[in-house]
Symmetry: C2
Subunit: 233 residues, 2 copies
């Protein structure tokens, strides 16, 4: 009998924003897998660190930081292969994932490689979007409002077109794309509705009106545009 | 010294999909507030029931089920007034909210009435969107993909226009709008990409291809359209 693979969302970063189910699975896991920046730290492991048993087996997927796909593909091929070996031996495997596994989560790359052969259970997590909104004190959508989620790396023209017709917007993965995104939002006259959030829920968290945002944003940063959100009923 | 108001997201329904922070706040709360269907049950209270202290004071906001706004407004006026009285007496108040407070959450209506006068802390929760995707085994968005969130009550023409230009789509609050939404998706030739989910994470959960969805859907149902989602890297 093969083991079960659990893809576990950890939430935005504060350890107590993981779910009770995630915590229970991590505490009892004999085999834990997670991505790490090649040669560096794993944010996912850091979130869960206090819950991981000292004698658990750890499968580290060293994912290179590059826009080229092939090196990352190889890292997930290797990770999936190591996870499959553990599952084949009858062990369950808990695969850690920042945020939510199916919302820009790294677990999707493991899922794509193993879901047709093994029992896979996905545990949803708090996304960075609602974590940022909570910290910014900015309601996202009420009643019949629409929400558009856009990745910051999209081309400028597409960002402009998608933001122009939208109500509430969350722009993910801002990072080095901040100047481009800022120009689009300024050009549309929407800066007054824009909030910048980095590392939501962590001690280093920053929440600022977009006009006061720093020049250099980390990968884990977001812009919320809540011109449409009307929380009054 | 006034107390602090906590707006606490409970997640999609399974009690163990609430966060550790939510559970800790609820367990220690002396005053709990939540919405209920007028004269009926409170889904929010049911999710948290096992954690509420027997001697906690409970503020129930009886919200009538009607499309007219005024009766619901009065219920939230009364609830906010009761909560304010508890805060004024120095008590903290934990206000329960299904899903996430700022993502179509009932807490927004309390927030709008009290946030300018009291210290308010919002605890994000797992949204129904990622809970449904997890149960359906359907990754939502990867890399530079876009996600559009639409409420089912939107007019047919607007639904069609918003779905046509989108990648991944989540349609919330399907309920009695199912026939309209189904016609739109069929007309766009997208039915093969559509999954119907009701009461995700609860014992009565239903997950079906849209083509097999029932004629009558409950309010807590959703359609996921994941034609764009490519989880392979």
């Amino acid at each position: 009998m093969s083991g079960t693979l659990y893809g576990v969302g950890l939430g935005p970063g504060a350890p107590d924003l993981m779910t009770l189910r995630a915590a229970r699975l991590i505490e009892s896991a004999r085999v834990i897998a997670y991505p790490a920046l090649a040669g560096g730290d794993s944010f996912a492991r850091a979130i869960a660190a206090d819950l991981i048993a000292p004698d658990a087996t750890e499968i580290v997927m060293d994912v290179p930081m590059t826009t080229a796909r092939e090196p990352a593909q190889k890292a997930y091929d290797k990770g999936a292969s190591d996870i499959a070996a553990a599952l084949d031996s009858g062990c369950d495997v808990v695969c850690l994932c920042e945020g939510d596994p199916f919302f820009y989560g790294s677990f999707m790359y493991v899922f794509a490689r193993l879901a047709d052969r093994y029992d896979v259970q996905v545990v949803p997590g708090v996304t960075s979007i609602t974590a940022c909104a909570a910290r910014a004190g900015r309601p996202l959508v009420a009643r019949n409002e629409r929400l558009t989620v856009l990745p910051g790396p999209l081309p400028e023209d597409e960002l402009r077109a998608r933001i122009e017709g939208a109500e509430s917007v969350a722009i993910m993965k801002v990072g080095r794309h901040l100047p481009k995104i800022r120009a689009v939002i300024d050009g549309l006259g929407l800066t007054e509705f824009a909030t910048y959030v980095e590392r939501a829920s962590l001690p280093q968290e920053v929440v600022l009106p977009l006009v006061d945002a720093p020049e250099n944003a980390p990968y884990f940063s977001m812009i919320l545009l809540t011109k449409g959100a009307d929380p009054w009923l």
